[in-house]
């Protein structure tokens, strides 16, 4: 047996791997030509990509940027690239890009939506990134009112007094529980600001306007349009639907029968009807329900409906996240003496939301793109303009260029959202 025993006396050093195992060669072999079927697929795919690009690229680049009409474009392309060349007429974008972005917003006031957009990124930064100083959160709270004032203009007192309603709700949450108990404090925090807005706010604003009429030039909703309107509706819908969706999801699981029934009823009804019907309700029917004489802005009405619609879906997405949490998490929170709201806020929601991130973000993306439906009720969002611009005699017959431009705008926003969601998932991964 002794001739079978073996003892290593010398340890082997490391050798470089063979050339087929490193660098480009390895990557190509592994990813493109790892087997005969794969090699065939690679060749076919390359051919398909070539075929598509060979059609699109000449069209996109043999194009005209400076012309005042479709005819001008065609003449320029024929002259430069030869007779019979099909080229894009980007001149329409060159001439109308401001309209596609801002609608009929007064040209000299373009700075207002631009400032609003820039400030929006400041306002959402502390929500998106934990490294941003927390104090900016305060600005995030004020931002919606500031944004409203910048976009619609008018008296400064309207947003300030509206903001006071929020302050009232906050004070109610902080100070009322000690006086009337937490249940009534919560109800009070919901009702007091509404009462304030409906009953007291109007006279106060009128009074303040009488004393100190400070304001900027007003812009009507029907002057707004273009991508701006998509962002206004999309961002408001996103920002409002998440908290409402969370409350609906919690309400749906509530042991309180009435709360539960209302939440289930709301979710099932809203999810059961197409968004477009809700938009028609916003544009036509809602006026019948409101007191006569109230002029409730169409964009605000649409925002409310889009928010309801998105919130119902959001509630179901979050319910999925809640259902995925092990029961032990609820029990551990209970056993430590945390009450329902603290357990929900500190233990349950952070985990449920984390599980739901991919779904939440795809809902946001869907909502953002669904805002294009508002063109059907007559708002001039980019899709509405895409139909309006060719009605101009000069641009009669133009189709692709405008849609390509709109698609690009939407893609930039939705792609950033999807990248952010991946970043967030990576950041929140805690190895379990």
């Amino acid at each position: 047996m002794s001739d079978q025993s073996y003892v290593r006396t010398e340890m082997l050093g490391e050798k470089p791997p063979p050339s087929s195992q490193v660098g480009v060669v390895k990557w190509v072999m592994e990813n493109l030509f790892s087997s005969i079927p794969n090699a065939i697929m690679t060749i076919v795919s390359v051919w398909v990509v070539y075929y598509i690009l060979s059609g699109i690229l000449p069209w996109a680049f043999q194009s005209s940027w400076n012309a005042t009409s479709l005819h001008g474009c065609r003449a320029y392309i024929a002259e430069t690239y030869g007779e019979g060349v099909e080229g894009a007429c980007w001149a329409v974008i060159n001439e109308r890009w401001q309209q596609l972005l801002f609608g009929f917003y007064p040209k000299e006031l373009y700075w207002r939506p631009v400032v609003t957009l820039v400030l929006m990124f400041v306002a959402i930064s502390p929500v998106l990134f934990t490294s941003v100083p927390r104090k900016i959160m305060l600005f995030s709270v004020i931002y919606p009112f500031l944004a409203f004032w910048l976009l619609w203009g008018g008296s400064i007192w309207l947003p300030i007094v509206a903001f006071l309603g929020l302050v009232i709700a906050f004070l109610a949450i902080v100070y009322l529980p000690a006086i009337v108990g937490s249940l009534f404090a919560t109800i009070g925090a919901g009702l007091l600001p509404i009462l304030f807005w409906i009953v007291i706010a109007g006279p106060i604003i009128d009074g303040l306007n009488g004393i100190a009429p400070i304001g900027i030039e007003g812009v009507d909703s029907d002057q707004m349009g273009g991508f701006m309107i998509s962002i206004i509706i999309g961002v408001s819908g996103i920002a409002l639907s998440l908290p409402i969706g969370i409350l609906l999801a919690l309400g749906r699981q509530s042991p309180l029968f009435i709360v539960k029934t209302i939440c289930v009823g709301f979710i099932e009804f809203i999810r059961g009807v197409p968004l477009i019907t809700l938009l028609f309700v916003a544009s036509v029917l809602l006026n019948y329900f409101l007191p006569p004489g109230t002029n409730f802005d169409l964009i605000l009405r649409v925002i409310i409906m889009v928010t309801f619609f998105a919130a119902a879906y959001m509630a179901e997405v979050i319910r999925g996240g809640l259902a995925a949490l092990p029961k032990g998490q609820y029990e551990a929170a209970d056993a430590l003496g945390l009450d329902y709201w603290k357990a929900t806020r500190l233990i349950i929601m952070p985990q449920a939301l984390k599980i739901s991130i991919p779904n939440i973000v795809s809902n946001f993306i869907g909502l953002f793109k669904d805002t294009t439906l508002v063109s059907i009720i007559g708002l001039l969002d980019p899709m509405g303009l895409a139909r309006a611009i060719p009605a101009d005699q000069n641009w009669n017959g133009i189709v692709w260029e405008i849609y390509v431009f709109i698609a690009l705008l939407f893609w930039i926003f939705t792609f950033s959202m999807s990248r952010y969601s991946m970043y967030l998932e990576r950041k929140l991964a805690t190895g379990h």
Binding site: P326, G328, Q329, E331, A332, A333, D334, A335, L336, G337, L338, D339, K342, L346, I347, P350, Q351, K354, L428, T430, G431, H432
Partner: protein, 262 residues
């Protein structure tokens, strides 16, 4: 199910006082139509270390979960530290913050670090300042011998370490009573003893403990009373020495022969 406990146990502080910590009288509980707990009577004095054992489905977990109202009983009364458990939320929150609980599956909060797991309840339930809560947490993490893991997440720890964190997390609330619901059942054999060690140390400091476990070595050495349950009832209750050497009921004898036999 017998992990040998080799260390000597310091019994100087393990004293049972006359003060009643938990009093359960004629308690009954049903799951729908199923009668899970039948007429339970149990008095636990301060400083007692009670081991509850029995076959699965006998209601032992349900019993201790009733004590901090993770389960609701339908008849009879449970009085913890002089406060009766009723549907009054204030009483429930008060009792829960006095009674610590460790679970079979640890139930640490995976989105928080070990330190945050330990400081969360003191900060939000007891309004302890963050710095003080962190000091307390580090004190107890040192006690369960894992202070170096404080900044990791639960998912990065082994099962035994997670259970010790769970114990530290409960201790941070400075509870007067600790409930253990099969704390070692989900652990690999080599990790069981590290968790049992932590529990023994706790017992040595005079903590009132109710432990649902199959670890008979722990019961024999640490408990001052062993309760055997079957079919939702307390079948036998005795000092460990008597319980293991001279079980009275047939059901207990059968159970012990099965659990100790191999």
């Amino acid at each position: 199910m017998v992990t040998e406990i080799e260390r000597e146990i310091d019994r100087s502080k393990m004293q049972v006082s006359d003060e009643v910590a938990i009093q359960i009288t004629n308690m009954n509980k049903w799951y729908g139509a199923f009668h899970v707990l039948k007429d339970i009577n149990l008095t636990v004095n301060r400083g007692e270390r009670i081991v509850v054992c029995g076959p699965s489905g006998s209601g032992k977990s349900t019993l201790i979960r009733c004590i901090n109202r993770l389960e609701v009983h339908q008849e009879g009364s449970i009085i913890v530290d002089g406060t009766e458990l009723s549907s009054d939320l204030k009483n429930i929150d008060k009792i829960r913050s006095e009674v610590g609980m460790c679970f079979q599956h640890f139930n640490l909060f995976p989105h928080l670090t070990i330190l945050e797991n330990c400081t969360l309840a003191p900060i939000w339930v007891r309004n302890v300042p963050k710095k003080e809560a962190e000091e307390t947490a580090m004190h107890f993490l040192e006690k369960v011998k894992i202070p170096e893991q404080a900044d990791k997440y639960p998912g990065q720890l082994s099962g035994g370490q997670q259970q010790r964190v769970a114990i530290a997390r409960s201790l941070c609330m400075k509870p007067r009573i600790m409930l253990f619901d099969e704390p070692t059942s989900a652990l690999d054999p080599e990790m069981i003893s590290e968790v049992l060690d932590t529990m023994i140390e706790l017992a040595e400091e005079g903590m009132t403990m109710i432990v649902v476990t199959h670890e008979m070595g722990f019961a024999r050495k640490v408990a001052n009373r062993v309760i055997f349950m079957d079919a939702g009832q307390i079948v036998e209750e005795n000092e460990p020495e008597q319980f293991f050497t001279n079980p009275q009921s047939e059901r207990t004898q059968l159970f012990l022969s099965q659990i100790l036999g191999h």
